[in-house]
């Protein structure tokens, strides 16, 4: 890819929205300031990723996980973020669980409507997908055990 850090920029609309949320009503933000914040945020992502990656490598893992990111925040002296991040992660995981349950529910409903043959095909495909997810989960679990 060979892109310089300055070239990687996040979507402006999103950055503007977040800035507006943070500042009191009626405060203006110069275009330059906005661009600067966007670049600062990009650098933040790179720095946080690299930091989190160090923790993952120390633990001899190739996949960054949530714990690594949290450790990176502490390392970077952003402890103030830890609590809100934990809460956000909880909410996110619940949302994910809900989605999974919802899609499983949909599948069950589908089965009731469809015939058996079509059933088996689609069910097999979906089972494969689920198995992959479960395997990933199991692998992560094993890795964590090894660390401990």
């Amino acid at each position: 890819m060979a892109e310089r850090p300055e070239d990687l920029n996040l979507p402006n609309a999103v950055i503007t929205r977040i800035i507006k949320e943070a500042l009191p009503d009626g405060v203006n933000v110069s275009k330059e300031a906005r661009r600067a914040i966007s670049q600062a945020a990009s650098v933040f992502v790179l720095y946080a990723t690299s930091c989190a990656n160090n923790f993952a490598m120390k633990a001899k893992r190739k996949t960054l996980n949530a714990g690594d990111v949290m450790s990176a925040m502490e390392e970077m002296e952003f402890e103030r973020f830890l609590q809100p991040l934990r809460e956000a992660l909880e909410a996110y995981k619940k949302g994910q669980k809900g989605k999974k349950e919802a899609s499983e529910q949909k599948r069950k409903d589908k089965e009731k409507k469809n015939g058996t043959d079509e059933n088996d095909k689609s069910r097999d495909e979906e089972e494969d997908e689920h198995m992959d997810d479960e395997q990933e989960g199991e692998n992560e679990g094993e890795e964590e055990d090894v660390e401990n």
């Binding site: 800035i19 600067a36 600062a40 945020a41 949530a66 970077m76 809100p84 991040l85």
Partner: protein
């Protein structure tokens, strides 16, 4: 995130956390810069507010290269000249 060297895979949760952390960071940076800056009087957040925050706050130290303070071109050229003079003297 993947453009970082050595990073092969990223967990879904890790991705979400990084996104959320970046959001918090943007808020934190915007608010700190605004509070400490002169913009408060004019109700505007300007680039110099951010550059000041990068220099003065320990937490934002890593941003000093990205958010350098602006100086006039002639001041920069002057300081270059002075550096050359020092080299000559050595």
């Amino acid at each position: 995130m993947k453009s970082s060297p050595d990073v092969s895979c990223i967990n879904q949760d890790a991705l979400f956390l990084t996104t959320k952390a970046t959001e918090l960071f943007v808020q934190h940076l915007a608010l700190s810069s605004y509070k400490n800056g002169s913009g408060k009087g004019t109700n505007t957040l300007s680039y110099s507010d951010l550059a000041r925050a990068a220099e003065e706050s320990e937490t934002f130290q890593f941003l000093t290269d990205i958010l350098p303070k602006k100086i006039l071109a002639r001041d920069y050229l002057k300081s270059l000249e002075e550096m050359d003079k020092d080299d000559d003297n050595l």
